[in-house]
Amino acid sequence: MAEMATMTMSDDDLRARQRRGVRRTLLVLVLLVLAFYLGFIWLAAQR
């Protein structure tokens, strides 16, 4: 499992991996938020 791979990583590698993960999560979630906000207004404007 990917989660188990972290058990044998060096601390620096672990931190770098976490940093990349956080950045990716942030990007995806911000896009989701915008999509829901604008998406619903757009849908409401369709009728």
Binding site: G21, V22, T25, L26, V33, I41, A44
Partner: protein, 533 residues
């Protein structure tokens, strides 16, 4: 770009940390931010509580005695907004801040600066919201649901209310992003998803709900704003819009929102019951799946708030059955809690008292919810005190009791002192009796036809209203005991050991009490047998 916990935590120089007010303004530490959220929430709990007591004082007797009807309407609207967005939600975010990093072995939240910002938006949002009470035309008075066209009649306060709601939304969305980023990325090696404590699991799922629905609320109130000031007609029938569409959009947010206020409570209760029953949680995996199913179903039941607007029959039936389906995963949870207690060696310290009361009283609210879900019956119940009784059972002895249970349970870890057990139990019994005297008679009032959100009522409702108001003052005043216990515990008391509850499991109990400012700078070793409390 983003700053992650690990970038600043190891380099953090404690000697240069500012002191006093500036320290709290600039802190990026999850424990300090957790404390800020909890203190803010407690303050708002008393502000919203005062409004509730104004409402109950007016309703003590039929007739108009104490406040103007228009002010009464502002109180019902503000009470709900303050309690939902100012008391319950920030309390859970505060608990998430304190506990999630400690429970998964992370040094801090993933985005500490954003964390600071999420908190500090809140005091401004609520100062703004509360200040509308003093504006021309008063504060919002059309109910927390803000239905147009009524809400569009709000006076000068309107744009300020909309801005305040946007600010609360931004704050919760940032909080939710932080929770997800932390849980997905900062777990200590070996802390697999299915080893996470249930509080962490329920918060992860809650955070996804927040991401999906807070922007929808923001969209809805943005459209209210443009309808009022910029000539759009989203909800204006005269311009080709549809006021019922607002209700659909609002409840697409609103129903998941009620689960946002209960899923973390489920998590807390799932941590506390095993500790004081001295048995592992029964059905851990089924708890996780039940939480996920509840979250999924919560998106397809919004129509149960709109049975009386004139939906097609197929719509009524769909929303009725979908709503009833939620009883299944909810039942799984209740049975799992009971099975955990079954033949356990139980003791009833204050956190456990609140947790057991949660299971019993939340379930009463679940049953009245099921009654409301029956579409033809809801034609009778809609907009009566029966609905008020329903949601107060799930929210007060539900969500609020879980927050109190959590406070008693983790207070020793936060402060390093034991709280006063005698006072804790006194607080519990006054609250448990008060809450039932307050809300149980409201079922009868609703079934007899008393409408919600009115300052005066027919004489036949007098008796139960008087009982309800007495319960309200008993409940409200007993919260002063809570305040006293918390202050007393912060200022001193018997020193707490690292693990004050012999049956407790989980990483947070491996840390000393009070938990030092920085913990798990190097990830802890995960002992699988200790996993998920």
């Amino acid at each position: 770009m983003s700053t992650t916990a690990d970038q600043i935590a190891p380099a953090h120089d404690e000697h240069h940390a500012p002191r006093g007010l500036l320290r709290w303004l600039t802190t990026t530490n999850h424990k300090e931010i957790g404390t800020l959220y909890l203190v803010f929430s407690l303050t708002m709990f008393f502000v919203g509580g005062t409004m509730a007591l104004i409402i109950r004082a007016e309703l003590f007797q039929p007739g108009l005695q104490i406040v103007e009807p228009y002010f009464f309407n502002q109180m019902t609207t503000m009470h709900a907004l303050v309690m939902i967005f100012g008391a319950v939600m920030p309390a859970f975010v505060g608990l998430a801040n304190w506990l999630i990093p400690m429970m998964i072995g992370a040094p801090d939240m993933a985005l500490p600066r954003m964390n600071n910002w999420s908190f500090w938006i809140m005091p401004f949002a609520f100062t703004l919201l509360l200040s509308t009470l003093f504006m021309d035309g008063g504060g919002p008075a059309g109910g927390w649901t803000l239905y147009p066209p009524l809400s569009l009649q709000t006076g000068a306060a309107f744009p300020f209310v909309i801005l305040a709601i946007h600010m609360m939304g931004v704050s919760s969305v940032m909080g939710a992003i932080n929770v997800i980023a932390t849980i997905l990325n900062l777990r200590a090696p070996g802390m697999t998803l299915m080893r996470m404590p249930l509080f962490v699991w329920t918060w992860l799922i809650t955070a996804y709900l927040l991401i999906a629905v807070m922007p929808v609320l923001a969209g809805a109130v943005t459209m209210l704003l443009t309808d009022k000031y910029f000539g759009t007609s989203f909800f204006n029938a005269a311009g080709g819009g549809d006021p019922v569409m607002f209700q659909h959009i609002f409840w697409f947010f609103g129903h998941p929102e009620v689960y946002i206020m209960i899923l973390p409570a489920f998590g807390i209760v799932s941590q506390i019951i095993p500790t004081f029953a001295r048995k592992p949680l029964f059905g851990y995996a089924s708890m996780v799946y039940a939480t996920a199913s509840i979250a999924f179903l919560s998106f397809i039941v919004w129509g149960h708030h709109m049975f009386t607007v004139g939906m097609p029959l197929a719509g009524e039936l769909f929303f009725m059955y979908a709503t009833m389906l939620i009883a299944v995963p909810t039942g799984v949870k209740v049975f799992n809690w009971m099975a955990t207690m079954w033949r356990g060696s139980m003791t009833f310290e204050t956190p456990m008292l609140f947790a057991v009361a949660f299971v019993v009283l939340f379930t009463i609210g679940g049953f009245s919810g099921l009654m409301l879900a029956i579409a033809p019956a809801d034609f009778q119940y809609q907009d009566t005190y029966f609905v008020v009784a329903h949601f107060h059972y799930v929210l007060v002895p539900g969500a609020v009791f879980s927050i109190m249970a959590a406070t008693y349970y983790w207070l020793p870890k936060w402060t390093g002192h034991m709280y006063d057990e005698k006072l804790g139990r006194l607080h519990f019994w006054c609250s448990a009796i008060g809450v039932n005297v307050l809300f149980f008679p409201q079922h009868f009032l609703g079934l007899a036809g008393m409408p919600r959100r009115i300052p005066d009522y027919a004489l036949q409702f007098a008796g139960f209203n008087m009982i309800s108001s007495i319960g309200a003052f008993l409940f409200g005043l007993s919260q002063l005991i809570f305040l006293w216990v918390v202050i007393k515990c912060i200022r001193g008391g018997e020193p707490a050991p690292a693990k004050p509850w012999e049956g407790a499991h989980g990483l947070e109990w491996t840390l000393p009490s009070p938990a030092p400012l920085h913990t798990f700078q190097t990830p802890p070793q995960i002992d699988p047998s200790e996993a998920h409390g």
